[in-house]
């Protein structure tokens, strides 16, 4: 029940927000926060409710199953393990943060908050649904609010960018949809239940094709080169809240899919395709990092670093070894915090000076020391300083890579070096230097500082006390890897 609320609440809350917006100034904002807070409570209830009796594995913390349309074999089937629970928590927190930092959005404010809630609802759906038709439904649903966020409240050439985002991801989603329908059609009786698919023994060759279909959607969302072209544009043109949700949630759904399904449904296909995943990840992490070094738009720079970091996640997920998979899980959470925080800070900067052009910024250290300190903290996270969760993730992935292939480990280490180049470049242009014409006079306000503190606490807490995160992820990783171990 509580699991259902995680999706239903923000979904209908979003519709209600449209109406609540008419009640009074800021009503929709407080309403959205309330909805998300209740969702957070629902998450805690679901998490602590004890293991479900009918779960198909020990790793599941909660499970909900309704027969939705039995004639079509369609069930409303949600299941939560440590990873999906952590990601749902992140999505709710980022949802609240998005509301808080968008306090001065006036244009169609009701719809704006509806979009935030719908994004949270749809991504929660992706993280929880184990009925693959519902999974695919939420997967596509997720695109709509993001499309609206970019095309209505975005900057620059926003309609074209929103369209690009939509076309890329909708086309890629077709692969997922086709694979799901194929599996449903070949199942002994029509169903979309992932647990049934896992048991039914898909022939190896079919697994390869089906995994390719799934990967088409997941790699585009991740994004891994060469499917990434939508991301820099979408990140750059989206409003701050949109960038946060894109970086924190949408990219994670791709990684989540690659975490959950290859091992569960297509172990044979995984063994065939994993080397390509590793290669793609290794290429992407260097490619993204090098491109980040040359960007002049601050948001674009962070967008390319996202490609670099998510490619590390891809390497970890394709490694098929415990350490790497663990590292991928940690890096997903860590990147959700650090990238969101950087987008938040750059957004706050843009609100003040009206530019993100690195060549026109500078001198933040002298005009806004708090701002500069916040940048410095997440700068450390971006270059995987020990003590941040990002380091934990990357170090675990690299450890795993040493077990898989030393050359890949070396590439991941090279990307650590390149990360210093772009991170110091960002600092040099933003916080160092002489305060420029576009100098910032106002330091971070409390409504900006509070989310920054929350995100910094997450980054450092999981960096310093990693056990908190590792304990949660461990069963999910073990379960994902179990089918991959060849007898």
């Amino acid at each position: 029940m509580a699991l259902t609320a995680l999706i239903v609440l923000p979904l209908f809350g979003g519709i209600a927000a449209l109406l609540v917006a008419r009640l009074g100034r800021n009503a929709e904002r407080w309403f959205s926060i309330a909805v998300l807070a209740v969702a957070l409570i629902a998450l805690i209830v679901a998490w602590t409710g004890g293991p479900p009796p009918d779960a198909p594995g020990a790793q599941w913390l909660a499970l909900v199953r309704y027969q939705y349309a039995p004639a079509l074999g369609l069930q409303f089937l949600l299941a939560m393990d440590g990873l999906s629970g952590a990601l749902v928590a992140v999505s709710i927190v980022l949802g609240i943060i998005s509301v808080v930092i968008s306090w001065n959005i006036r244009k169609q404010s009701g719809l704006f908050h509806a979009c935030i809630l719908w994004t949270v609802a749809a991504s929660n759906g992706v993280f929880l649904a184990m009925d693959l038709l519902f999974f695919a439904f939420f997967w596509e649903l997720m695109l709509v609010p993001s499309f609206l966020l970019i095309s209505i409240w975005g900057h620059g050439d926003r309609e074209a960018v929103a369209l690009k985002f939509l076309v890329f991801n909708a086309v890629a989603g077709l692969g997922l949809l086709a694979a799901v329908f194929y599996m449903a059609a070949t199942a002994p009786e029509i169903t979309f239940d992932a647990f049934v698919f896992a048991e039914m023994g898909i022939p190896p060759l079919a697994q390869v094709w089906l995994l390719l279909g799934f990967s088409m959607a997941f790699l585009t969302k991740l994004p891994a080169p060469p499917f990434h072209a939508w991301l820099p544009d979408a990140h750059t043109m989206a409003p701050t809240a949109g960038s946060i949700l894109l970086a924190g949630l949408l990219l994670k759904t791709g990684a989540y899919g690659l975490f959950r399904f290859p091992g569960m449904l297509f172990p044979d296909g995984f063994h065939v395709l994993a080397p390509y995943g590793l290669a793609l990840g290794a290429f992407g992490t260097i490619y993204g990092a090098v491109l980040a070094c040359g960007q002049t738009d601050a948001k674009r720079l962070v967008a390319y670093t996202s490609i670099a970091h998510m490619s590390i996640v891809l390497m970890g997920l394709s490694g098929g070894v415990h350490f790497a998979m663990m590292g991928a899980g940690v890096e997903m959470i860590a990147h959700a915090f650090s990238a969101s925080a950087l987008f938040l800070l750059i957004g706050a900067l843009y609100d003040r000076v009206g530019t993100r052009d690195l060549r026109q910024l500078g001198g933040l250290q002298q005009t806004a020391p708090r701002f500069a300190a916040a940048f410095a903290v997440f700068f450390s996270a971006a270059l995987a300083m020990p003590g941040t969760a990002n380091f934990l993730g990357e170090a675990l992935v690299i450890t795993g890579m040493f077990q898989v292939n030393w050359f890949l480990a070396a590439i991941a280490l090279v990307s650590l070096v390149v990360s210093v180049v772009y991170a110091t470049g960002l600092l040099k242009r933003i916080i160092f230097g002489v305060p420029s014409k576009a100098c910032v006079t106002q330091d971070l306000t409390w409504s900006e500082l509070a989310p920054v503190i929350v995100l910094a606490t997450g980054t450092l807490l999981f960096g310093m006390l990693p056990q908190l995160l590792l304990v949660v992820l461990e069963p999910a990783v073990d379960a994902a890897l179990a089918p991959l171990v060849r007898p």
């Binding site: 490619y287 250290q365 170090a395 180049v421 110091t424 461990e474």
Partner: protein, 634 residues
């Protein structure tokens, strides 16, 4: 409760001071900032000194667990460790840290309050991270401290945020040391995979137990990591540039403690290193070569801080030489002695040059004896120890031990001894050059004295350079080794070396022809231009690659992302354009027009003439009949 519990308290005050100053939201006035910083810097010494004393008295091998992590099959146990090595280096670091941060109170007094706060926050963070590294009992805490030091180093070099030169120097230092850190991380992770544990005590035997290739690789990676952090050839280029930071930063980070951390790393893992003779030989060779190179480059410097930077490079070369020769204990003794005299040199030189209009040119030392006698005499004490004036200075004892180890290490060792001896001669030459310049009188110089925060640390450290002299042998014995002794003649040669250097310094200072030649030797001054090589080999290709990939060279920006999009657009265009005129629609239109034309033909049937109709009826009936007859066929 185990006494090792106190280990946890050592880095805490400095960390607390960082959190208060760096991230605390409250406003502080100048006095509060200074008080917090000083408390954060001195309390670690207060805790560490009794621990060191305990270590001297009692059994000194203790582990203080922090907490355990479980990553699948592996148990990662974080811990701090007290043994003679960490106790000795820990005591040194806390004392030097307290002295330098205390000195900063006067030295940085003129900065803006926000800058002051940032400065002290970072200095305390540095102290905390250095102590974490020194006291680490496992590779995670070790690497945490190691990396955080690099981060502090970056921010402190770039302390003057409006100076493009300082920022560039900070980036250079960060990138080069990060390369080395990547090597170190690789080595530590490989050891972790071997041992299934991160305890340093488990890593060493696991590393020794593994096969030759892997062990050799790990040792080589460790050496590379140490060389980068310790600015050894060919990684040294970042250290002279790093002098763009404030002088106390150079004193603490870029000479006494952080830069020497490479030597500490290798000494820590010495039992592992010693199982790979090839890597040991490379270590010794790199050390000796760097010692000679650093000393030579230092001779040609015109800037006191850069001179001292090359001196640090050279002195750490001596430490690596000792480690490569299998004498890590001697290297650590030199680490301690070097930390004292080098921080003393920086602090006193900083005091002198700050008075002299802020330039750090060697000419700024002129008249220092008259103008700033306390600092000058302290500088002389430091220089004497650096040069290794026999019997009274700590520098002589530790350097002599290193030379002795080389002499006793076989034929190759004697070659290394020759290299190290020439480095020692040149050390005397560059060490005394600023001292002699200080003797040159300047008209109208007034005698001034610094405040108590300036003089107290300087005097303490000056006393330390002499007090440490009789302690060098006990230190090595404390670390469970003995100081090697070569034949007396060899020892005498070592004792004469600094005086030869002094004579050279005299010639360079007071003989115009020679000093002019020194001033013109640009190639040597710029550290044989390895920077230029790096520019051509690494920086320029990287910049070109970045420019090309981002479309600044008339290329397509982000080709891997853009080309598929362009391809898809072309493909869609190729399909859509022919369809734009909608062939299906044209087919329907064609059908319509064909219908119209058919109608045009058909209407002739309706002519209105009776005979036509009658004919048509007759033909029709005939055809019907024919059909009816035809159907009866069988």
């Amino acid at each position: 409760m185990s006494p090792f519990f106190a280990l946890l308290l050592v880095p805490m005050p400095a960390m607390g001071a960082f959190l208060l100053l760096g991230l605390g939201p409250a406003e502080f006035n100048r006095r509060a900032i200074q008080t917090i910083a000083l408390a954060g810097a001195t309390l670690p010494a207060v805790v560490m000194l009794p621990l060191g004393a305990y270590c001297l008295m009692g059994t000194c091998d203790g582990i203080q667990p922090i907490f355990d992590l479980e990553v699948g099959p592996a148990v990662v146990a974080l811990a701090l460790k007290l043994d003679p090595l960490s106790a000795l280096v820990g005591v040194t670091v806390t004392i030097i840290g307290a002295c330098v941060i205390g000195y900063s109170i006067d030295y940085m007094a003129k900065s803006e309050i926000a800058d002051l706060r940032r400065y002290f926050a970072l200095m305390n963070l540095f102290l905390a991270s250095m102590l974490c590294m020194v006291l680490a009992g496992d590779s995670i805490i070790f690497f945490l401290g190691w990396e955080l030091m690099g981060l502090c180093s970056f921010f402190l070099i770039a302390y003057h945020v409006t100076s493009a030169r300082a920022i560039a120097a900070g980036r250079k230092a960060f990138v080069i040391t990060r390369v080395a850190d990547a090597f170190l991380l690789a080595a530590l992770l490989l050891l972790f995979l071997e041992a299934g544990s991160v305890r340093l005590d488990d890593l060493i035997p696991a590393g020794i137990a593994t096969d030759d290739v892997r062990r050799g690789l790990i040792a080589a990676l460790l050496l590379a990591g140490a060389m980068g952090k310790s600015a050894q050839l060919p990684f040294h280029t970042w250290l002279p540039s790093a002098m763009a930071g404030p002088t106390p930063v150079s004193a603490l980070l870029h000479s006494a403690t952080m830069v020497a951390a490479g030597a500490y790393l290798l000494a820590r893992l010495a039992p592992l290193m010693e199982t790979v003779p090839l890597v040991m030989a490379v270590t010794a060779t790199v050390g000796a070569a760097t010692a000679l190179f650093g000393a030579t480059a230092a001779v040609f410097q015109l800037d006191v801080k850069r001179l001292l930077a090359y001196s640090s490079i050279s002195q750490i070369g001596f430490m690596l030489l000792a480690i490569g020769l299998g004498q890590p204990e001697v290297a650590i003794a030199h680490f301690v002695v070097h930390a004292i005299f080098k921080s003393l040199l920086f602090l006193s030189a900083g005091d002198i040059t700050q008075i002299a209009r802020g330039t750090t040119d060697i000419a700024a030392m002129r008249g220092a004896l008259r103008a700033r006698p306390v600092a000058y005499l302290a500088f002389v004490a430091g220089a004497a120890s650096l040069a290794g004036i026999p019997f009274v200075t700590g520098g002589w004892f530790s350097k002599e031990a290193i030379l002795a180890s080389a002499w006793l290490a076989g034929p190759f060792g004697i070659v290394l001894w020759g290299v190290a001896l020439s480095a020692a001669v040149l050390t005397g030459a560059y060490a005394f050059r600023p001292v002699l310049v200080g003797l040159i009188p300047v008209k109208g110089a007034r005698m001034t004295f610094g405040g108590v925060f300036t003089n107290l640390p300087i005097l303490l450290l000056a006393a330390g350079t002499f007090a440490i002299a009789p302690l060098v042998t006990p230190m090595v014995e404390f670390l469970d080794a003995t100081v090697p002794h070569p034949p007396l003649a060899v020892e005498l040669v070592g004792a004469v070396a600094p005086f030869v250097g002094l004579a050279l310094a005299f010639a360079m200072t007071f003989m115009p022809r020679i000093s002019r030649r020194v001033a013109q030797a640009r190639r040597m001054r710029s550290g044989i231009r390895i920077d230029g090589v790096y520019q051509i080999v690494f920086v320029q290709p990287f910049v070109a690659l970045v420019r090309w990939l981002t479309g600044q060279r008339g290329s397509i920006a982000d080709p891997v992302g853009t080309l598929p999009v362009m391809g898809a657009q072309w493909l869609v265009g190729a399909i859509v354009r022919p369809l734009a005129h909608d062939p299906l629609d044209r087919a329907w239109a064609g059908f319509a027009s064909a219908t119209v034309r058919a109608w045009g033909v058909a209407r002739h049937v309706q002519s209105g003439r009776v005979r036509d109709y009658a004919l048509a009826i007759a033909v029709g009936v005939a055809l019907l009949l024919l059909l009816g007859w035809g159907t009866t066929w069988r």
